[in-house]
């Protein structure tokens, strides 16, 4: 290859690297989610994609949470959940999110630049299972309470008075269910898709309770009788429990023997938030018909709005055609009844009375929530419910400030490291060292350009890898220079020594680099995000160092020797 061609190749490589490193606008063609029409969007393409650890953001690994609800077909449910998450995150509006299935049982979600991790998590995790149920009008719970208390007495559970906020030792012994039931924080969804399995086992139980129906709810001093009272207002099936006793009552009601006392066809649900009645805070408990009249699967659209009357946020929704027909029929049949709106198994607000037939439009009133929460709810409702709740098995979140900090520190380390390497090379090899430094500058350019070309993600370990590789990259040059020195020592002419030096150093350079690439490949295969980023920079760095040390430095020498054909001593 002539000097001319070599220089052209180098210039082309420089141009290519620079081209890939200049931020520019790219056009993205995508489908509009509302209208389904394709349209073009222009966005700035930054040359090096930063990893979550550098730009800040969130990485979540999710699995099906089967502690409350067992999936019949986990593979299908995971695929469904993936689709739902894609829709939700699209609507949420994160730039360049990653949502993908990893293995057979895990979904990985990466959200760059998230500034509100709690909100992002709730959008990802919320089941968003919406259902409407008619409240129980047979006083089933009141009738069942004496029977429940008798069972509890037999188990040794005693009343503690109204201030039973802290779980007792007995409850901790018996109430093993409390861990699997929603905690008072309200984060864990309690999806009511299927009735609790214990209910069907207890099919014969109602007979035992009917004997006690005469006993009034508040008589007898039983644990539950003292804590559960009918709510004021006369809504059938509505009860209230002091907020302090809520976790305890919840765990007691979930004991299989207690739950069995409730007649078939009736199920209990809590309200989503506590309500203040006077100075006390109460939690509403609803006895509801087992079968929902309609669920969110018939939902077509949902929007968050501010209710002009109450000034509180509401979510209005439209049902699809089939849903509208079914809802219309059911509401027409239940005019005058009360209908609870359940989201993830918790009642939203107090059940409204059905005034007349309701067709396709409805609304959910959210008490004491912000408009943003209403928007998030509308978003998740529209995207659909998760078939099975998801649990987060891995979370990594880095604040944007920490990321910026890391970049700053990495760059400082890079500058100091490069300065030291340049100093060593210039002191030791003088003019030849200067050639190596020029090659090193190109090395850095090529590495970054190559990373951009490969659309690689730059992570913090990757950044460290680049800094480290600057020190290692000169190795190829060092090998060559040392060879040239040896050849010169053997009395060869400058030109011959340079030729021989390059030729003999090749073997060692290739062998050592291949072994490094091999280890890097395994790192890439088995590493997670940040470490993968490291492996990529390592591989890219090796490729770039081969090019610069072998090809670029060689060309520099050729030009140099071409200009000074009679050079007797080499500055090396």
């Amino acid at each position: 290859m002539s000097i001319r061609t070599r220089i052209l190749v180098i210039l082309a490589l420089i141009a290519l690297s620079v081209f890939y490193l200049i931020p520019r606008d790219v056009t993205v063609r995508e489908r509009d989610l509302q209208t389904g029409v394709m349209h073009d969007r222009t966005e700035k393409r930054m040359p090096l994609k930063l990893g979550l650890d550098l730009q800040g953001g969130m990485h979540l690994a999710l699995e099906l949470d089967q502690s409350k609800q067992v999936s019949a077909d986990p593979g299908r449910d995971l695929d469904l959940a993936l689709t739902v998450l894609r829709k939700r995150i699209d609507e949420f509006g994160v730039s360049e999110p990653v949502i993908q299935k990893v293995g057979d049982e895990r979904i990985v979600v990466e959200l760059p630049g998230i500034d509100d991790p709690a909100r992002a998590k709730s959008i990802v995790q919320r089941s968003a299972f919406l259902e409407f149920r008619i409240t129980d009008e047979t006083n089933a719970l009141e009738k069942a309470i004496p029977g429940m208390d008798r069972v509890l007495r037999q188990m040794g559970v005693r009343a503690e008075g109204a201030a039973a906020g802290k779980p007792s030792a007995v409850e901790q012994l018996l109430g093993g269910d409390s861990a699997s039931k929603p905690a008072p924080k309200g984060a864990a969804p309690d999806t009511a898709k299927k009735p609790a399995p214990s209910r069907s086992e207890g099919a014969a139980a109602p007979d035992t309770t009917s004997a006690d129906t005469a006993t009034a709810a508040n008589v007898g001093g039983g644990v539950l009788a003292g804590l559960i009272q009918p709510a004021a207002g006369g809504t059938p099936g509505e009860y209230m429990v002091p907020e302090t006793a809520f976790p305890r009552v919840d765990s007691l009601l979930n004991l299989p023997n207690v739950a069995r006392q409730l007649p078939r066809g009736v199920t209990l649900r809590w309200s989503s938030t506590p309500t203040s009645v006077g100075v006390e805070s109460y939690r509403f408990l609803y006895a509801l018909e087992d079968k929902p009249i309609i669920t969110g699967s018939n939902l077509e659209d949902a929007q968050a709005q501010i209710d002009p009357l109450t000034n509180g946020p509401i979510v209005t929704f439209q049902l699809d055609r089939a849903g509208g027909r079914k809802f219309g029929n059911e509401t027409a049949r239940h005019v005058g009844d009360y209908m609870a709106i359940l989201l993830d198994g918790r009642a939203q607000g107090r059940p409204p009375v059905i005034q007349s037939r309701i067709a396709r439009n409805g609304q959910i009133t959210l008490q004491g929530r912000t408009l943003q929460e209403a928007q998030d709810l509308a978003l998740t409702l529209k995207a659909g419910a998760l078939p099975i709740p998801l649990k987060i098995v891995e979370e990594r979140q880095v604040g944007a400030s920490l990321g910026a900090d890391s970049i700053q520190k990495g760059i400082t380390a890079g500058i100091v490291g490069t300065a030291l390497v340049v100093l060593i090379m210039l002191t030791y090899y003088r003019l030849s060292g200067a050639l190596a430094v020029a090659a090193l500058a190109l090395y850095i350019l090529f590495t970054l350009g190559g990373l951009s070309l490969m659309d690689a993600t730059l992570t913090l370990p990757g950044l460290a890898g680049i800094v480290l590789s600057i020190g290692i990259a000169v190795d190829a040059n060092v090998l060559i220079f040392e060879r040239i020195r040896e050849e010169l020592q053997h009395g060869k002419t400058v030109r011959l020594a340079v030729d021989e030096g390059f030729k003999h150093a090749m073997n060692a350079i290739v062998d050592s680099n291949v072994s490094t690439v091999l280890t890097a490949l395994f790192l890439f295969q088995f590493g997670t995000g940040p470490v993968k980023g490291f492996a990529v920079t390592l591989i890219m760095g090796i490729a770039a160092s081969m090019i610069t040390a072998v090809f670029v430095t060689r060309t520099f020498y050729m030009v140099w020797l071409d200009r000074r054909p009679t050079m007797a001593t080499l500055s090396i």
Partner: protein, 329 residues
């Protein structure tokens, strides 16, 4: 011309028994410490929750601990990280009675404890890592697999490029490096994270690099000096590559020092492991890889090494030659 160790004639191989003693004296007690204390695995591998917070006011670490205990999280590690008011909390054990694979329960409890101690809104969470034991186990398994498989891939490559004798010697040197590095990590009590595993693998690559460059010279010199004894060939090759080694190690160590001092807390363990790796890699190339190659060639001489094992190498055991021989005559 500035040149270090030009035309050096050190008898590296001759003093190899001393070197064995030194490395054994360093590694064995370190491994003992390691056995007693165990490795300090990161959250990624053990599972658990790490929260890094930046608080407006500095509080006593003990206060945070009390707050965590109140939330049912016991035995958490709390560390002042960098600036005052910046803390890293590592809770390796999930909140009792909860599903450890559901990482959110413990994370929520940590946040609640911080709300109580620092006051909600008085601090910002700048980093969270929550890993369930299941994911942790998988990551651990993958890390081991990566080290193990790269080991064999490199062996295969070396066997292909050189011959199995060289490959085996290089791999044994690498094994020494890994053991020495693990001992180093144990003694320094560095946190073993995925990044540190990456450092160990990079160190392996770097050390192999060094070994290969010497072996490359050995192969060349075996062809060039037909009559020279194998031990002398090794010494010659090591001495010839010495200037290169000094310079490359110098530049690599400079960038590593820059990383150690300027790149921050997250990268420091990585840089420290690599820093150590440069030394152990150099040592093992000279004192493990080369003598092992000699031992292998003595027992099962390859085509290249035949004729370098002294007079009548095949019939009588090769001389152990402890005497310093003039090199490169």
């Amino acid at each position: 011309m500035l040149r270090f160790f030009a035309n050096a004639k050190y008898d590296f191989i001759g003093v190899r028994r001393w070197a064995y003693g030194v490395t054994a004296a360093l590694i064995l007690p370190s491994l003992l410490v390691l056995l007693v204390r165990g490795l300090n695995y990161s959250i990624e591998f053990t599972g658990g929750t790490l929260v890094q917070v930046r608080s407006h006011k500095a509080v006593d670490v003990a206060d945070i601990r009390t707050g965590l205990d109140r939330e049912g999280i016991h035995g958490a590690e709390i560390q002042n990280f960098g600036a005052p008011g910046e803390y890293v909390i590592r809770a390796r054990v999930a909140k009792p009675g909860t599903d450890a694979n559901d990482t959110q329960v413990t994370a929520a409890a940590v946040n609640q404890a911080l709300d109580a101690v620092l006051g909600a809104g008085n601090y910002t969470v700048i980093r969270t890592e929550a890993v369930g034991p299941k994911v942790g186990g998988e990551l651990r398994q993958k890390a081991f697999l990566a080290i193990f498989l790269s080991f064999f891939a490199v062996l295969a490559y070396l066997a292909y490029r050189f011959e199995w004798r060289f490959g085996l010697a290089a791999i044994l040197a690498t094994a020494h490096d890994i053991i020495a590095t693990i001992a180093f990590i144990g003694v320094m009590h560095l946190e073993v994270s995925l990044t540190v595993v990456a450092a160990v693998l990079s160190m392996v690559g770097y050390s192999l690099n060094d070994t290969i460059i010497i072996f490359d010279r050995v192969r060349e010199n075996l062809l060039k000096h037909k009559k020279m004894r194998f031990e002398d060939i090794l010494n010659l090759s090591i001495n010839e590559t010495l200037p290169r080694s000094i310079l490359t190690h110098g530049t690599t160590l400079s960038t590593l020092l820059a990383l150690i001092f300027f790149a921050g807390e997250v990268i420091r363990p990585f840089a420290l492991v690599m820093f150590f790796g440069v030394f152990t890699g150099t040592f093992s190339s000279i004192y493990i890889a080369s003598p092992v190659l000699m031992a292998i060639e003595r027992r099962w001489p390859g085509a290249l090494a035949r004729g370098h094992m002294g007079p009548a190498a095949a019939a009588t055991p090769a001389p152990t030659g402890r005497k310093v021989q003039p090199v490169g005559s």
